[in-house]
């Protein structure tokens, strides 16, 4: 009997030990990495760059980090292979007050150039030397759009032609295109006019009794975007949803923007397209970067903006126009 009790005692103890939860350690040693972000806008001469660093937090919520990761004091040089030889530009260091101070209270440090607009298809190289001596480099190509194509954007025969659809057509413009149809408006809030903007969805999709807005994604091949006028009307109605006083709203302007991205920036945007799927928990994360020596993105883009007058529709909804 003693042997049996001893035997049972051992078994119970082994089971108790085994049933203990092993602690999993999702984190390993912190890795300090620097990031450079710069997307050259080829339709303007004002360019911006930022440099940040990685950080660690207690727990798993990175939003708890309150230490400003934006770096000042770096030297950023931009070299452009123009037909007239290599042109070198140096970014200036500055800061602005943050509009959102929920995480970081300090001013936002960034770098800018006021006099660089690429007009030719030469390589653009960026090089950032950090205060600690580390170097980040990357190369890309500018987006150059023929003025004729810009002038004829939209006016070319739209297709498909439907009376109840608004079509934007950019035949001849190559690259990774992302369309954005925007309504800018102000709303009277206790006597103050507050600026807002609404992006009109590509269409609304009724899935399982829920109406969902679907926005355009990057299109490498398709050369047009069309919007159902009912979709535009629905989006405009949403601006003042459940507000009977429509005169509190002034629609400032409505316009379509065609953004043409280089391959680096298009890939960067595309790599962020994650989705909600409770079954597909990924063990890895997409993190595209074309930076050498760190992370971030160095790309180029060109934006073509076209006003889209919708005065009749706006007034029919009771809104004021500018």
């Amino acid at each position: 009997m003693r042997k049996l009790i001893f035997f049972l005692f051992i078994i119970v103890n082994v089971i108790l030990i085994l049933s203990c939860n092993d602690q999993v350690e999702p984190k390993t040693d912190f890795n300090e990495v620097y990031l450079l972000n710069c997307v050259v806008r080829c339709d303007t001469s004002y360019q911006v760059a930022t440099i940040t660093r990685s950080y660690g937090v207690e727990g798993y919520n990175p939003s708890t980090n309150m230490n400003d990761p934006f770096l000042e004091g770096a030297k950023i040089m931009l070299t452009y292979d123009s037909p007239y030889g290599a042109q070198v530009y140096q970014f200036r260091d500055t800061s602005i007050t943050r509009s959102d101070t929920s995480r970081y209270k300090t001013p936002l440090h960034f770098y800018y150039l006021k006099n660089f607009q690429p007009l030719y298809r030469g390589n653009i190289k960026i090089e950032a030397i950090l205060p600690n001596g580390e170097k980040l480099t990357a190369t890309t190509k500018p987006i150059i759009i023929d003025q004729y194509l810009i002038n004829n954007f939209i006016q070319k025969n739209p297709k498909p032609v439907y009376p109840d659809r608004l079509t934007f057509d950019w035949e001849g413009i190559n690259g990774y295109c992302l369309g954005e149809f925007i309504v800018k408006y102000v709303k009277n809030e206790n006597g103050n006019w507050v600026n807002y903007q609404k992006v009109i969805p590509r269409y609304y999709s009724m899935v399982k009794n829920v109406n969902i807005s679907v926005f355009p994604s990057i299109m490498p091949v398709q050369k047009f975007l069309d919007y159902d006028t009912l979709t535009i009307r629905t989006a405009l109605e949403e601006i003042s949803y459940e507000d009977p006083n429509k005169q509190n709203y002034i629609i400032l302007n409505t316009f379509f923007m065609l953004n043409i991205l280089d391959a680096n920036f298009a890939t960067y945007i595309a790599s962020q397209q994650t989705y909600k799927d409770e079954f597909s928990v990924r063990l890895t994360l997409f993190d595209f970067s074309n930076l050498n020596g760190g992370l971030g993105i160095f790309g180029t883009m060109y934006t073509i903006k076209k006003e889209v007058p919708l005065t009749n529709m706006i007034r029919s909804l009771g809104y004021r126009t500018n």
Binding site: V39, V48, A49, T50, Y60, P62, V210, T267, F286
Partner: protein
């Protein structure tokens, strides 16, 4: 002359030489051939023992219930036929020179309450079998194991050394460091491509339609081709030839019904299974709903009527499985997938020790991911394989065996994908493969057996070029030094011309889309080197030790950096795996005790970076204890231990530029959100997995009425085995907790 041609020429010369010597040895010898079946149902008894007392020789029946013993002296011999759970039978046969003596024996099942274990002749039969890395399992072997939610053949395989589990949440299995898509799963002779229900938690093959399993963990013989790692051959039942009988089963997850009975000239079997609740499924994922709906159906007709065609057997079978995962939330995606097989088989014995078969089959799979508004990408996979093969097997008087066959397969694969920048692409491939094999088994000496085979394979013969010719030579041998000890070895080259577009970095593989290897990649190949030793110091004690090294080339890896339409969907990778396996079995009536341990290491090399794949579990231990308590009661316990699987750890965070609107927005100044930085792939290890399951079963038999009740307790000590943790919250998502389960089965 190419290396392939030289290999084939040498092989044919060897076969010719051996054939000459085989015939010269044929002198006044006869052959005993037979078929062993259940006396009540007429169902074939696979792997039954046949033992000739006077010669101390024997054989096992094959999965069809047939056996053949060649090179017997002309005399009167006493043959003992035995099978676990059946009364042994003794026959007297008179062997005549140059003749085949046919035996048809029907064994009567013992009463459940008085069941005994008989293994007469088994050791003799295994003298020179070239069966390295092969496990033969009958459905009776599985009956006493803890059944879990319900008995699942894939779960049973995971108790074998060298077979890694996908955890409680997946019935997928990983053999000797290879991915799950490198396992060939044959339903009779038809490959089946995604045989899983409920997102992989359960196998789609209902054990009640199975007669036996043959599982090669590696080094499989040349009659099997098309996969790099392992072969699981599921042999289905033929049905009751003597009377109509039915079977109904109920578990906490599914309800099922089977009907079998005589058919003019043969028998039929028809059965189906359907889930009715997701209560159990929730337990697999921290009580999160799994809106899964599935069913499977199996039907088979057999005709074996000597009046119609002597010694011939025809069978026609079909299998269908369907799964749907339909979420109510439109922000979540839906899935649906189906398997369908249809097979016709003609099997013929001849007056000589020759049998041959012709098999025509269709296997199709279709799967779809419907994104709804989840933001995921639409995906559709359709896969159809039409196959015909003819095989023969001839036993020489010397006991040597010559086997061969040809196979022609036409495959159509269609896959739509949407890449990360929203561009839809389609892989639409059609291909024909043609192959032929020849195998010679040298079995004339009782202390040595060898199996030399070669298969010449032409694949992607149609479908826009890219035809590839591959020769697959394979060698297996057994050297029995003394009756108690055998050394075994195997070497071979293996190729796989069908691959999956599945991402191993998804924690749950709902289904794997199959395609023909795209033309920009050569078909994956592997070389296996296996050595083993089998020790049987006593009739009730055995030890098996096997070591292996496997090298893999041109593995098709999903390109996780496919951002543009011209980027390939798959990129080539390579890999290697090696390990050591140990298994011992001990029988001391009424106990059966099995211990197995394996150590393995698996590595992948992709884009020049070496990492362990997510199924690289280094240490595995399985302990199984079964006991027959008498009076229809039996009990079993199983403890499984797996050392931690690899995962990728967090190294920090950064504020990532995440612009949503870019045209009229200074996004470089205001569009940042926190992002997780990861370490090198899979350098961390999850906690170890272990679980104890207990089972108590009672079988009741009153005349033809049989009933069984199985009570199981899964994860007895409520081990919190980790499935994954959420990176955003650090929350643990655990697998199956302590869970009692019950299975009820009624047979009439």
């Amino acid at each position: 002359m190419s290396r392939s041609k030289i290999t084939i020429t040498i092989f044919i010369l060897i076969i010719s030489l051996v054939n000459i010597t085989s015939h010269s040895n044929a002198q006044d010898k006869g052959t005993l051939r037979g078929f062993i079946a259940d006396s009540l149902s007429g169902e074939a008894l696979p792997y039954a023992n046949v033992y000739i007392k006077e010669l101390n020789r024997g054989a096992n029946t094959d999965f069809r219930g047939y056996f053949i013993i060649a090179s017997l002296p002309s005399s009167k011999l006493t043959v003992t036929i035995s099978y676990v759970g059946y009364k042994s039978q003794q026959l007297t046969v008179r062997i005549e020179p140059n003749k085949v003596y046919d035996v048809k024996a029907r064994l009567a099942p013992t009463n459940i309450q008085l069941r005994t274990i008989e293994t007469t002749g088994e050791r003799v039969a295994k003298e020179n079998d070239t069966d390295l890395s092969l496990q033969r399992i009958t459905i009776r072997d599985l009956e006493n194991l803890p059944k879990g939610i319900e008995l699942d053949i894939f779960r049973v395989l995971q108790t074998m050394p060298g077979v890694q589990t996908g955890g409680d949440v997946s019935a997928r299995f990983y053999v000797r460091g290879s991915a799950s898509n490198e396992n060939l799963i044959l339903l009779d002779n038809t490959p089946i491509y995604n045989p899983f229900h409920a997102m992989g938690i359960l196998s789609a093959i209902d054990p009640d339609m199975i007669s036996s399993l043959e599982f090669y963990k590696g080094g499989f013989p040349v009659e099997y081709t098309g996969r790099l790692s392992s072969v699981l051959k599921i042999n289905t039942k033929n049905g009751n030839k003597n009377s109509i009988s039915g079977k109904a089963g109920l578990s906490l997850l599914t309800a099922k019904l089977f009907l079998e009975g005589p058919f003019p000239g043969g028998s039929f079997i028809l059965g189906g299974r359907k889930n009715y609740s997701d209560v159990v499924l929730k337990k697999f994922r921290n009580d999160n709903s799994i809106p899964s709906d599935f069913y499977d159906i199996f039907a088979k007709i057999n005709i074996a009527d000597d009046n119609f065609m002597k010694d011939a057997k025809f069978s026609l079978s079909t299998f269908f499985s369907s799964d749907k995962v339909m979420n109510e939330n439109p922000l979540l995606e839906d899935f649906q997938w189906k398997n369908n097989t249809l097979e016709f088989n003609y099997f013929q014995l001849s007056d000589t020790p020759l049998f041959y078969q012709v098999d025509i089959s269709l296997s199709s799979f279709s799967g779809e991911r419907i994104p709804n508004e989840s933001g995921s990408k639409y995906m559709k996979n359709e896969f159809n394989e039409y196959s015909m093969h003819a095989d023969f097997n001839y036993v020489y008087d010397s006991k040597d065996v010559l086997a061969g066959g040809i196979k022609i397969t036409e495959v159509y694969s269609y896959q739509t994908l949407t890449n990360n920048i929203g561009q839809e692409s389609t892989i639409d491939l059609k291909g024909v493969s043609l192959s032929a094999y020849l195998k010679y088994q040298w079995l004339r000496n009782s202390f040595i057996g060898s199996d030399i085979g070669i298969r010449a394979h032409g694949t992607r013969l149609a479908g826009g070029g890219g035809a590839t010719f591959i020769v697959e030579p394979r060698v297996n041998f057994t050297l029995r030094l003394i009756p108690e000890i055998a050394l075994k070895g195997s070497w071979g080259l293996f190729m796989q011309d069908l691959v999956t577009i599945s991402d191993e970095n998804e924690t749950i593989l709902i289904f794997e889309p199959w395609v023909i290897t795209p033309l920009y990649l050569p078909p994956p190949t592997a070389i296996h080197y296996i050595a083993g030793i089998e020790i049987n110091p006593a009739p009730n004690l055995s030890f098996d030790i096997e070591g292996y090294y496997k090298i893999m080339h041109n593995l098709a890896i999903v390109n996780d950096k496919k951002f543009f339409i011209n980027d390939p969907d798959l990129i080539p990778g390579s890999g290697e795996a090696y390990g050591l396996e140990f298994q011992t079995k001990y029988q001391l009536h009424p106990f059966n005790f099995t211990v197995s341990y394996s150590w393995m290491k698996s590595l992948r090399v992709v884009r020049g970076i070496t990492y362990p794949p997510r199924f690289d579990s280094r240490n595995n231990v399985n302990l199984t204890l079964e006991t027959d308590l008498g009076s229809g009661w039996s009990a079993s316990a199983m403890w499984v231990y797996t050392s931690g699987l690899p995962f990728t750890q967090i190294t920090g965070y950064y504020d990532k530029l995440t612009p949503i609107q870019i045209g009229d927005n200074p996004f470089l100044l205001n569009s940042y959100s926190p992002f997780t930085m990861l370490s090198a792939t899979n350098i961390g290890r999850l906690p170890d997995y272990h679980r104890l399951d207990l089972s108590l079963s009672k079988r009741i038999q009153i005349n033809n009425f049989k009933m069984s009740i199985d009570l199981s307790v899964l994860n007895v000590y409520d081990r919190k085995n980790l499935f994954y943790f959420r990176r955003d919250t650090g929350e643990r998502v655990n697998m199956l907790p302590f869970f009692p389960s019950v299975n009820l089965k009624v047979e009439l």
